[in-house]
């Protein structure tokens, strides 16, 4: 099964997230991640939904989403023609002995340390899912106490953009 990224413009109403999430659960579609936030137009929110499934599933997801009155527009993003990122905060055990090594790893990943205590470090990383997973893997040996991630957001490269009107490109 492949991962597909859908960008969905929706009306910024209460209850829209629940409509979308409900649709996924009752139709048996699996969501890998869902991130939502308001766009440059305060009346419109944008969801980035990563779906796990074959072409049939993705087609059905898109068509069913399109039937929701609050959904304005859906676009499947081409992996090679878009940039996707997620943000994670990772709290890891750190003693005087291990702190240096952790900081080195953090630098290699171009991540940031955003909080420190006597026995923990909290690291902020943004990047593709693979990069976040790789850092997580490297930090496991020190003992991860907590991890929070935002879910993927994605945007098309170059001149293309998704707008409420029907013109995808300008």
């Amino acid at each position: 099964m492949a991962k597909h990224t859908l960008s969905v413009l929706v009306e910024n109403h209460p209850g829209v997230l629940s409509r979308v999430a409900g649709l996924f659960s009752r139709r048996g579609f699996n969501i890998d991640s869902l991130a939502v936030g308001v766009t440059e137009n305060p009346e419109v929110s944008r969801m980035t939904i990563v779906v796990d499934g074959d072409d049939y599933i993705v087609e059905q997801v898109s068509k069913q989403l399109n039937k929701l009155i609050d959904v304005i527009k859906i676009k499947q993003l081409d992996k090679n023609d878009s940039v996707s990122r997620e943000l994670a905060l990772i709290k890891v055990n750190a003693t005087a002995a291990t702190r240096g090594e952790i900081i080195q790893i953090v630098e290699i990943f171009r991540a940031k340390i955003v909080d420190v205590s006597k026995n923990t470090l909290t690291i902020e990383i943004s990047g593709g899912t693979d990069k976040v997973a790789a850092l997580e893997d490297m930090l496991k040996q020190f003992g991860i106490k907590e991890i929070v991630r935002t879910g993927t957001i994605a945007i098309e490269r170059g001149n293309k953009y998704i707008k409420v009107t029907n013109n995808d490109e300008e």
Binding site: G15, S18, R19, G22, L23, R26, Y56, E59, Q60, K63, Q64, N66, K67, L68, I69, D70
Partner: protein
């Protein structure tokens, strides 16, 4: 002018041309009912026995007339009692607006008395729903709700109105209702031409006509299409009436209880043209072995239906009526072919049949209803064997003539729907074909029919069992009749009389005509005809679960 929310609601209903609504009052809708009282000369409010009855009546009204059906209930239990009716309408694409009262905005989310999150509950069973917390938004929400209910593939919309909103005052201006956008053709000339070529070249084509043909009013175009290309037509349950049941190209129902002719024809076809249908499991049964030699063409307004349940080779997405109309101008006129003759031969070999042994049979009752109403009655049904017998043995000639819960299979649907249909079509005789199991569920609506002098006929096929489930138990569960015998001594005739209706008992075939004729005479009272039938009468043919549709049990 300044109006309260309740007055705005009523004004908006008038704006939409609503003259009949079905409902049941309660605390959260007191203001609305007060406004309805004042508008009682313009909008007829039909008080049902139960909110579920109101929802089915609004549904039956909508199916019979093509207009939006409106029902109303109070918050909490009133609202939840509408749920089955809303789900029924959703599954069968019926335009409905359900209005529910809600607790005041200040009490929302506090588990207040009779508070329930009805928008949350009905999210998966409505086309869209609203909760109105601001009186200035109310009018536009109602207008939008009607538009959504009608537009494209129709469906139910729920509007939940907080009690304080119904009392609050705001400026209101009348507006002409927006006409629903007629769906565009939806495709290019080239796509149409490609489809035409496929149709012209097919050797063994068959058309499946679904409810969408009736909804879009494409029935006349369909007849032209079928006659010109000499293509046999089968229908789904929802499609009954979309093609004349007496037409020589008609092959009867398809699928689980389809005719042998339809099911063989589909299985041997080389082109399967589904129009306004959604490939329900009751039609396709075993998806891997459905129409194995056919390419599938699918004409439908809802793109999400294309490729959902079966692989479609030639999708034509758009307005069904416009598409068929255009196809009609382009397809070749064909001669009666060997394929047509083969189908005629099947029809001759495999007619629908039932025992002719002097015992009162349900099939016979339906046949007599057909004859004595000259095929002109509207038929509503409950769900189960009664529904399929009504589907098989009455020949429907027009859309909106057969009104039945197809998708959800809602037992208890028929009586409410029958009352709604009769109120929408006072010019027609409306008959509810019922079984005793389904009928008992919501039989209290007889009181409604009596009160409003609705002269419906309830043709109760009384076998004292839950016949369809019993039939499955006999055929597939070694006759272990678990909880399906309901021989409880209920005297339905006496019950009907107690409600103020007319009740007539029928137990012999020779009594059938007189009873039906007597029932047809009533103009101001509902009549219940209690037909005592055998508990082992079955619906045949039947395709066993999981089998391909050409492997059917005939008797």
């Amino acid at each position: 002018m300044k109006l309260t929310g309740a007055q705005i609601l009523v004004e908006c209903l008038k704006e939409q041309g609503v003259d009949t609504i079905f409902g049941f009052p309660g605390g959260a809708v007191l203001n609305i009912y007060d406004a309805l009282y004042k508008a009682r000369n313009e909008i007829k409010h039909v008080l049902t026995s139960h909110e579920q009855g109101a929802s089915h009546a609004a549904d039956g009204y909508a199916r019979a007339t093509g207009k939006v059906g409106v029902c109303i209930a109070t918050s909490g239990p009133g609202a939840t009692n509408l749920v089955t009716g809303i789900a029924t309408a959703y599954m069968d694409s019926v335009p409905m607006v359900a209005i529910t009262g809600q607790v005041a905005t200040t009490l929302l989310g506090k588990d207040s008395f009779q508070e329930v999150d009805i928008t949350g509950i009905t999210m998966p069973i409505t086309k869209h729903n609203y909760i109105v917390k601001d009186v200035t938004k109310l009018a536009d929400v109602i207008r939008e709700a009607f538009l959504i209910a009608m537009e494209g593939r129709p469906g139910p919309v729920l509007i939940d109105v907080c009690k304080d909103v119904t009392a609050a005052v705001t400026e209101f201006e009348h507006r002409k209702p927006e006409k629903p956008h007629s769906a565009p053709l939806g495709m290019s000339e080239a796509e149409i031409d490609a489809a035409v070529e496929i149709i012209n070249n097919a050797k063994r084509p068959i058309i499946l006509s679904g409810g969408g043909v009736s909804i879009s009013g494409a029935n006349e175009e369909l007849v032209i299409f079928a006659e010109k290309a000499k293509i046999p037509v089968t229908t789904t349950l929802m499609g009954l009436g979309s093609f004349p049941g007496t037409h020589e190209l008609f092959t009867g129902l398809v699928g689980m209880h389809g005719t042998k002719t339809s099911n063989l024809a589909v299985s041997e076809s080389d082109l399967f043209i589904a129009i306004g249908a959604r490939f329900s499991d009751r039609v396709i049964s075993n998806v891997k072995r459905f129409a194995p030699e056919a390419k599938i063409m699918h004409i439908d307004i809802d793109p999400a239906e294309v490729g959902k349940n079966i692989t479609v080779h030639y999708p034509l997405i758009g307005n069904v009526k416009k598409i068929i109309k255009l196809l009609n101008t382009k397809i070749d006129k064909k001669e009666y072919s060997d394929w047509n003759k083969k189908i005629d031969e099947w029809k001759r070999l495999y007619p629908l049949k039932y025992p002719q042994d002097g015992v009162l049979r349900p099939h016979y009752v339906i046949e007599r209803l057909y004859e004595l109403t000259k095929g002109q009655a509207l038929i509503t049904t409950e769900v189960g064997q009664n529904q399929l017998w009504a589907a098989q043995y009455y020949k429907y000639s027009a859309p909106r003539q057969f009104i039945s819960s197809g998708g959800l299979g809602t037992m208890g649907y028929g009586l409410g729907a029958c009352i709604g249909a009769q109120m929408g079509r006072p010019d027609k005789k409306v008959i509810n074909v019922a079984g005793d199991g389904s009928f008992r569920m919501n039989c209290t609506e007889i009181a409604t029919a009596v009160e409003y002098k609705v002269p419906i006929i309830i043709a109760l096929l009384n076998n004292h069992v839950l016949g369809m489930v019993r039939q499955w138990q006999e055929l597939f569960y070694d006759a272990r009749y678990s909880s399906t015998t309901i021989d409880r001594g209920t005297d339905f005739v006496a019950m009907a009389e107690a409600f103020g209706a007319i009740g007539i008992n029928v137990s012999k075939p020779e009594e059938v005509d007189a009873a039906i004729l007597k029932a047809l005479e009533s103009t101001d009272r509902p009549v219940l005809l209690n037909f005592e039938i055998d508990r082992d009468d079955k619906v045949f043919p039947i395709v066993p679960p999981g089998a391909p549709i050409n492997e059917l049990i005939e008797e």
